[in-house]
Symmetry: C2
Subunit: 255 residues, 2 copies
Amino acid sequence: MVIFMKRVMLIVSYDGTNYHGWQVQPSAVTIEGVLNEKISELTGESIQVIGASRTDAGVHALGNVAVFDTESRIPGEKFSYALNQRLPEDIVIQRSTEVDGEFHPRHCDCIKTYEYTIINRTFPLPEYRNTAYFYYGPLQIEPMRKAAKAFLGEHDFAGFCSAGAQVQTTVRTIYSLEVMQDLAESKIKIRVTGNGFLYNMVRIIAGTLLEVGKGAISPEDMDGIIASCDRQKAGPTAPAKGLKLLGIEYQEKIV
Amino acid sequence: MVIFMKRVMLIVSYDGTNYHGWQVQPSAVTIEGVLNEKISELTGESIQVIGASRTDAGVHALGNVAVFDTESRIPGEKFSYALNQRLPEDIVIQRSTEVDGEFHPRHCDCIKTYEYTIINRTFPLPEYRNTAYFYYGPLQIEPMRKAAKAFLGEHDFAGFCSAGAQVQTTVRTIYSLEVMQDLAESKIKIRVTGNGFLYNMVRIIAGTLLEVGKGAISPEDMDGIIASCDRQKAGPTAPAKGLKLLGIEYQEKIV
């Protein structure tokens, strides 16, 4: 008997508020755990997805990527419809497609884009209580934009990494880092694109730019802070709930 | 003994998801109920606020207005800070101020602005599951914009009113009605400003413009549909969760 096995890729969006992050944990509800459960239910197989980005508790995603192998006869592009009927409202598959069996979402070169949202006004906005960091004090945008430029290009970001992660190198390349202001919604968004990010790196960049906005760090000192590779010189890790993984682009052809 | 009584106005924002609407109900949690409880706790008095707009269950607000009378020595503008420390995260006072003792938020002439949000893409966005209506089919924006023009000015909106409300007249004036599209977020916003709205009027306008966007109602028929005063000719009442009261402007000086 010939068994036809295929690899299916999912583009997964979620509101991370009610989850203990992406990665499966023995006694906590996680995004990966819910996906494993629902895909297993649907296919009748024991499925374990492989995720591209193992986001922390409270972090959100518009387009995280996951793959799984299945013998199911459901066509790749139909999994999105079938799974969305089973998934809770805060996890939605935006797209599903069959990919090359060799494709691994963490071992392939990719470009990731994250967004960090800050609500900056006298009092918080209830609508954004779980999806943005609230800061009431004045923030100067132009110094934040100036400081953002120092991150561009290839750097050793050892100073922008929380302890505990095991990585071969702390060198990463940032392709763009924008600070956008929406005055009507009193919203500031920090959007960063790079070829990979260290543990908590985007949240530490956001926390550092916030210090620049408050005037506690000068944009002129940014080059030196990055070059120092000293975690103590960068700003604090901004709260998880303001962070969203917008999407991941793979550089090789995967379909 | 002289008792100094003052009237305090609150600008109240809330995510209505977890509430059975504004108005106090015997055995359900409401925005008004929570405000009465927290202001009473703070002042030691038995406070009953008067709200400007008694929004339905699931409807949100950026700037609803409420007033209450108090003998408290807390200055009017300090109530926002004191109350926000006691209120749940999904109800936030944006501003508080002392107003004239004669000011009544429902009996004074005012201009209200509402926004109705639609997420229009193949699959929903988890972040907006409670604050927008999701529609997956194609929507034509230009016909919606053309139809919107028919609502401008003074009309008898009897056909855009749900049964059950007791009003002296169903004539209202709409000053502006915009249909805005944000392609990056696959979001359509309908923003309407008028001198008052009948029961469910904004949700019926949104439901009608959705029918226009789908091609089920022609923009050329809009004048006739409004003039008919026939609820059956207008579109369905769009779901509550897409609606947000942006703000209320009072025409007389109230401070």
